[in-house]
Amino acid sequence: MAIPFVESFRHSTNNRTTCDSVVVKVSDDTGIRGYGEGAPRPYVTGETPQSMLNHLANELWPAVAEREVPSVRSEGELGLLDGHIGPSIGGDHQASRAALELAILDCVLRRAGLSATQILPPRRDKVIYSGVLTAGKLDKTLALGKQMKLIGLNQIKIKVGLGDDLARVRAIRELFGPEASLRVDANGAWSYEEAKQMLEDLAALQIAAVEQPLRRGPVAELRQLHATSPLPLVVDESLVTMDDAEALIAERAADYFNIRVSKCGGLHRSLELARRATEAGIKVQVGSQAGETAILSAAGRLLAAAVEDLRFAEGSYGTLLLTEDVSFEAVRFGHRGLARPMRGPGLGVTVLEERLTAYARSVLELGRDGPLRS
């Protein structure tokens, strides 16, 4: 896909101006369709849109095309669907798996006349979404901050790692006042020494958590930082697989897991990570992908509403970021970042084919025996 953003989304490792998700549409033998989405992030899972298409076409789809899909009528059966897609190798190809899993799940649920909220009942009747302030010029960031304040967002994540971090955070704290929950996300931009100093400096600004202070690397280094940190630490790029989670838990290297459906390989794997986190006393943040469409937002909403202990949620920006979204329903959050579980059939959104067509950068059609056209 190539849906333009209303304004660019920038953090320390990337500057994004369009949604470049891969949307997967599956059809069963009765013509019922399901839609899934994966957002490739080379610097997280090593995926690009093209590598996702290749992996879907050459590995994932051929393994499922000829087989009967398991029915999914309960949360427990989500694991069967994950198994149906096959094993994965480490943290590679997570977004591809997520896209296919969600598409098949959407299809299977619609075939059964079910909503995803029936197999994964929400534990909360509303999710509160955070605003995310990107790492652009400070005056623009503050203007955006004023807009977020106006619409009642009271949980804000600040992208940092571009050199003016402390001044930026101070200015944003001053804008939002002492009551707002502020956290920062460095996307791995700081060195160990920089991170140590920043954590000390940020402690005076009542920061709720600091995300990915170091680049994904040895967990021992993160453990060392965590041991002396005055602020809670969130892992994002360091948390892609269950193996990552176990290592982080064993080393006591984090206070929060940022679990994102696309990054973590789909809904089932995300739920498992959330469960393991809670078991280990680690708090859960349900994250998102900048520029995700309504499909991934709906999956994220499902996850955020269902996890036992949700501390922060991100996503569901919809047309606040995308110039146009792909669903009939608006998935965007409302005033104060509030959004309710989506209880429609399947994942809860009705995808508009004409929007997919209008914004498709390329289309690959796969049949039972391989590619039909591209």
Binding site: F5, V6, S8, T17, L150, I151, T323
Partner: protein, 230 residues
């Protein structure tokens, strides 16, 4: 802060962005394909077909100082406030038909209806209706402002390069004539509204900046991203 001046400056910048856009210049200079001309007209028709309904909503929220002008706008759109007796939506249909777009008119009506529905069903971003109303007034006034400056140029382009006649282009003519006055009144209405509903200048400007985060003229008429770059 002079709110009226701030708003006018913002509108002027966006109008300039629109008229400087390659697609607009191409249209004006006759370099646009007929297909793209059709797309422009279809988008324009879709954008304004439900203007009476939007104005009715704005009239319902109007501060006393603006009530008469918003009522007048609405009645003019409906064609029942002046001797012309022509509703502006019917002029848009006339535009579409004169340009050979009659076959797509039902689809444009459906899309305009859907756009209106979305306004009602989308989750509210603002805390109260008066902020939402201000946002809507901002966008309507922005279009009046733009049309008062560019309507004749657009009509001229379609007359010269597409051969559309005066009757087909009447919406532009009528709209440009009324919109000069409406544009000025519109800026005043925004100030009246902000004052009546106790918005301070900064809050009013924040709402306007949210509405105009992307260039609404580029987005709606050209059907492409109106994203502003840093």
């Amino acid at each position: 802060m002079d709110l009226r001046q701030e708003i006018e400056s913002l509108y002027e910048r966006h109008v300039a962005q629109f008229s400087d856009h390659e697609a607009f210049r191409s249209l004006e200079e006759g370099r646009t394909s007929e297909e793209d001309q059709d797309r422009f007209l279809a988008n324009l028709v879709r954008t304004h077909l439900k203007s009476p309904q939007i104005l009715a909503f704005l009239y319902s929220l109007a501060p006393p100082a603006s009530a008469d002008s918003l009522l007048h706008n609405m009645l003019e759109e409906l064609g029942i406030d002046d001797s012309e007796g022509v509703s502006h939506p019917s002029l848009l249909r006339q535009l579409a038909e004169g340009a050979g777009l009659a076959p797509v008119l039902p689809e444009l009506e459906r899309l305009a209806e859907w756009d209106l529905r979305r306004i009602t069903v989308d989750p509210l971003l603002y805390e109260t209706l008066n902020e939402f109303g201000f946002a809507a007034l901002c966008e309507v006034t922005a279009f009046e402002f733009m049309l008062s400056r560019l309507s004749s140029r657009i009509a001229g382009a379609f007359s010269q390069h597409r051969g559309l006649d005066d009757k087909t282009l009447l919406w532009f003519t009528l709209h440009s004539e009324v919109d000069i006055g409406h544009a000025e009144q519109g800026l005043d209405n925004l100030v009246h509204y902000a004052h009546y509903y106790d918005f301070d200048g900064a809050r009013a400007l924040t709402i306007i900046e949210m509405v105009m985060r992307e260039n609404v003229f580029i987005k709606r008429y050209l059907g492409i991203s109106g994203a502003t770059s840093e």
